[in-house]
């Protein structure tokens, strides 16, 4: 063996010793990371998944940044929501409820949405909702019927809206998507026109019976036809 290869061998030996020591130290440090404790007085989390033994997710609590898409048959689909809150998922892997909230503020403009909803996006939902667009607000209880679109269509639409650049167009598209999820059947709310209203609607979403105290304070019970015209109105002083 010449002197060069002897030097090579020595270097190699040195390397092996150094690397071995490093691995030992790294192993020690990694293993020393205690197993995560399970009792805390207070913790900060960005997202928490409550899972079954086999890993199926049943409940997610999340900030806006990590909020999940829409769960359908155990698969998560991108769906634009821009909210933080809670998602409830059933045994079959379908979302059946959300508690969601979001706000936006810009110069001369603001908007807010909070909703606790149960049901299926395409098959009808009941929700307690507050929805505000720069002071044009409604708040109350809303029951929506089944959507004219199938789940697959809604998901496709959701994916398209999700890819839109952030801005007022996207906000509008999300609002439209929410409406496409199903026509209003039962409304018990303070409405955008400043009235307090109970409205019962036909399957197409046209209100047919309405109890209203309007912005001027007048109480009325109204029967409407499918085109939205009032065909009978009972008021506090009417003789009808």
């Amino acid at each position: 063996m010449n002197s060069t290869s002897r030097l090579g061998m020595r270097l190699l030996k040195g390397y092996v010793v150094a690397a071995a020591s490093l691995v030992v130290v790294a192993t020690f440090l990694t293993l020393r990371q205690a197993p995560p404790a399970s009792r805390f007085e207070e913790i900060n989390v960005e997202r928490m998944n409550v899972v079954e033994k086999d890993g199926r997710v049943r409940l997610v609590i999340s900030n806006k940044n990590r909020f999940p898409g829409l769960m359908v048959n155990g698969e998560e689909h991108p769906y634009p929501r821009g909210v933080a809150g809670i998602v409830f998922i059933d045994e079959a892997g379908n979302e059946y409820g959300t508690l969601a909230t979001h706000t936006r503020r810009a110069e001369q403009d603001f908007g807010a949405y909070s909703g606790l909803q149960f049901g299926n996006v395409a098959q009808g939902q009941i929700g307690m909702i507050y929805d505000d667009d720069a002071g044009q607000r409604q708040a109350g209880l809303f029951i929506a019927g089944a959507s004219a679109d199938a789940t697959a269509q809604l998901l496709q639409r959701g994916r398209r809206v999700q890819q839109m650049p952030e801005g007022p167009d996207k906000v509008r598209a999300i609002a439209e998507l929410r409406r496409a999820e199903g026509p209003p059947r039962v409304t018990v709310a303070r409405m955008r026109d400043q009235s307090a209203t109970v409205a019962l609607a036909d399957p197409q979403g046209n209100p047919r019976l309405r109890l209203v105290v309007d912005a001027s304070g007048d109480p009325r019970v109204e029967f409407l036809d499918a085109s939205g015209s009032v065909i009978r109105s009972l008021g506090g002083s009417s003789e009808l």
Binding site: T27, S38, R39, G85, S114, M128, Y130, A139, S237
Partner: protein, 221 residues
Amino acid sequence: MNADLRFLQVSALVLTVLLAVTAYAWHRATRIPHFAQLDVERINFVEPDGMPRLILYNSSHTPGIILRGKNHPHPNRRAQAGILYFNDEGTENGGTFTFDQFDQDQVVSLGGGLAVWDQPYIPIEQVISRMLAATSQPEGPGRKRALEEVNAWALAQKIFTQRLSLGMARDNAAVLELADSERRPRLRAVVDAAGEARIDFIAAHGTVTRSITASSAGNLP
């Protein structure tokens, strides 16, 4: 020479094994932690910048009122367990089945029935600081007067103007009540404790001007 070679062979083997162990341990240490059960007194769900979005808490960790991510003493929240949500600005916007208007107090609630309120767009900080100024005074006639003043102010600003309620009344009737923007009930649908149903139209000054029942269309005289 042979000894050198054997040393290198053995070292390489040991290193490989250790490397595998380290890689596995590293993988375990960096994946999302998994717990079979967690006992926590309070969990803060936060955005990456630390702004709160949702807090679950027991009674010994009841938050004050959190506005733009900062905790302030709450004028009337007692120590209680619950859940609070926060808007994109880190300001409280609801809790256990109530929602607040943007930067304001509650507009809809599902506790013991459905209730809906109108709220003015007065920043909640202003309302809270006025209330705190009154509630933080020492007991006595001065505090009482300050509380009355702040209540009168809130009434004049139309804070908490109830517009709608749906639920059970104290007399065991099932009631739907719609109010005007001055919080005066104007339309009421009732099934009373005896089972009698009626729809009442109410004038602004509070008298029932028409009552429709099963046997009467409530025509006025």
